[in-house]
Amino acid sequence: MTIPAATVDAVPLHRALGVTDGELEAIQVKLGRSPNDLELAMFSVMWSEHCSYKSSKPLLATLPTSGSDVVAGPGENAGVVRIGDGLAVAFKLESHNHPSAVEPYQGAATGVGGILRDIFTMGARPVAILDALKFGDPSQDRTRYLVRGVVRGVSGYGNCVGVPTVGGELVFHPSYAGNPLVNVMAVGVLEERHLTRAVAPGPGNLAVLFGSSTGRDGIGGASVLASATFGEASATKRPSVQVGDPFAEKLLIEASLELIERGLVEGLQDLGAAGITCAVSETADRASTGIRVDLDAIPRRESDMEPFEVMISESQERMLAIVTAEQLPHVLEVCARWDLPAAVIGRVTDDGLVTIVTGGLDAAGAPAAGARELARIPAAALTSEAIIHQRVAAAPVRRRPMPVPDDAPDAMSDPSPGLPERGMDPGAVLQALLGHPDLCSRAWVTRQYDATVGADTVDGSEHGAAVIRVRGTTKGLVMATDAAERVGLLDPWLGAAFAVAECTLNVAVTGAHALGVTNCLNYGDPERPEAFWQLQEGVRGLGDACRALGLPITGGNVSLYNESAATTIAPTCQVGIVGLLEDIGRRVGPVPGGAGEMVALLGAATRGLAGSIYVDIAGPGPDDRLPTLDLTAHAALLRLLPAAAEQGLLRAAQDVSGGGLAVALAEMCLWSGVGADLTLGVGAEPASDLFGEGPSRVAVTLAPADWDALATLAAAAGVPLQALGETGGDSLRIRLVAQGVASTSDERGAGIADDLDTSLDVLRDAWDHGLPRALGDDAWRPEPHAREG
């Protein structure tokens, strides 16, 4: 076998493949000899960060994963949690950051394809997609190109496979300029009895590869693209881009689910990073068996492929099924009916080895006469016993309470010209916040996503968490994904914990109970002690928050080396949660029903503006501190909300997050088309009361008659409840009154000068046009505002 000379360049082969000298020695120990070139290529992809989790595994081991309803946890393709009635839900978040930086359309498209395969491989029918996207400055041409490509990619793929895209995140922060994040979450529903594992049991069973043929896509994609920091070399990595075919994926979904429902497979594994090598070694290792691969039997798109190319190709839309000889004809019939090429490419063995044979296998599955063995590796050496590195963590020398303009990443170039400085009119600040690209309407994006295919979408992506009904039951699934990148930049522990807090609250405001947590850890180069420290802190924050809230982590994904020559990303612990509504008819939405409802706030503010979008646009102040997170108080709020929903006490509920309470209230007004007349007690720093992003708060509306019941419930739960006023009119009016201060006017000067009174039309204009304005899309038109009766 030859590795193309261009990639070797006088560097020893193993290093060219990203294998360190120490790792090569470890490989030699595992094999008791030196690997040949094919084996080395297989190790290089399996021992990449992406497949082996070699830097993060010891950290992930600390996460809480158990829960009484968890049917499958980390280690499987997706987490699975029981929801009653014999049903379960499968869900997982996964990154496709580096491929999307290189080719945004295909990178995002194949990201969607990959996470969907993780879901239906378990036997679940995918019912929802959520996409969390992070980019640099939206005024830059490069960013705009990436945004357009990524959004089109998600839309092109998700719409075609017929899975609604119902939620996600869109964040712009300069730290993502050179390294955008594309994290995709998928959710599926299955009958628990159809739960299928990615295993290769039963020596003698057949390994059937079905779906697209194997081409040169993504050769080295996993190891080279995901493990090497971007630089000038990226041009030479281009041929490794994977191309997606959503049409093939749709056929793959139907064929796979039919195979599972008819009980035709012993195990099923999708092909993702490291292609066939990963699929055969993982399925064999999980079942303590081996697999002998008949290399010549693998259908190829090109005739002149080298064995290593076939073995590590990341061609999309492929599946590996382990089937008995008796079921083989049925399996092949199903694949043929769905127009999917299928081939028997190997046999399960009892020797614990992955062997690659050319020259064919005989009827018994042994190498045919004259056949040659090209590789022979213990399956465990490639997967469960892959190398682990104990990385060095070091907190930054000076732990910054807040970014000092000079050493913070370049401030965004003028996000909103003519913005008021700190201390100016709160109405103008609110307008600027509603028009901020991170807070404004996402319609520019979401209108490109089919959110209603499947005819189960009760609430799509424009407001808060997505709600999908479970057809044939009274149940609903509520899903959300969140991160707190600006907080994570200042304190990576808090950033991760905040993400869990925000996401749990997004789910709980609907009245749902969280079932479990998935996550995607997006961090920098783990060989850099500061980046590894950020990862360590992030995992600690994630674990601490989930433990305190009693939530199991059922799966996730780790993406490291998110750095470019210019920037390292803000530490980003992306959290995804699925919650269960037992009675979807009792769900609470974020949109008030009309005028005359009481408006109130549940939870108490923790002060601090650091890490907020307010600081992003108004500039940092000398005393800015991070808000704190009280997980016990948060847990109490999470218990209260479903109880209040259960009793039908809430007309609307909306968690306070980006932009603070004022933005949460403004959104409720915009979505209902009805204003509000409110009074807010403020302290010495009114900006913090209005725009601070302290966690664990929910703005609610309710019928005045329900106030006493809600107050009783809140008091019993130990959750502060504060009346703010009532809905009505066509503007948002917030009167600020001093709390514990003698004279309002004396104290108010610190932050805000005036009461807030802004017409909804003005707020709506800012909110509607924020994104197209930021992205320079003059042609885009918002939908005319229409109130639903």
Binding site: E103, G215, S315
Partner: protein, 78 residues
């Protein structure tokens, strides 16, 4: 040239529905025709090559060819 062409594949699999069996190797690409104001063919070609690389084709996954038509230039991608 080895890059996946799902369109071509889908067309090819449905040709039997049309009773066509003598056709294979279907590749579906884009064709852009444009009028260029330029002093000569070489100058026109420079402009079109630039547009092809920067706008019409994604060099990562597409190849292109530039063809000069009578007094006009067209580029095709596959």
């Amino acid at each position: 040239d080895g890059i996946l062409d799902p369109q071509g594949r889908a067309v090819e699999t449905s040709l039997p529905h049309l009773g066509v069996s003598a056709v294979h190797g279907v590749r579906v690409g884009r064709r852009v025709e444009l009028d260029v104001d330029a002093t000569d063919d070489a100058a026109a070609r420079v402009i079109v090559e630039r547009l092809a690389t920067e706008l019409f084709a994604n060099p990562l996954i597409e190849a292109f060819e530039v063809e000069l038509l009578t007094g006009a230039a067209a580029g095709s991608m596959a």
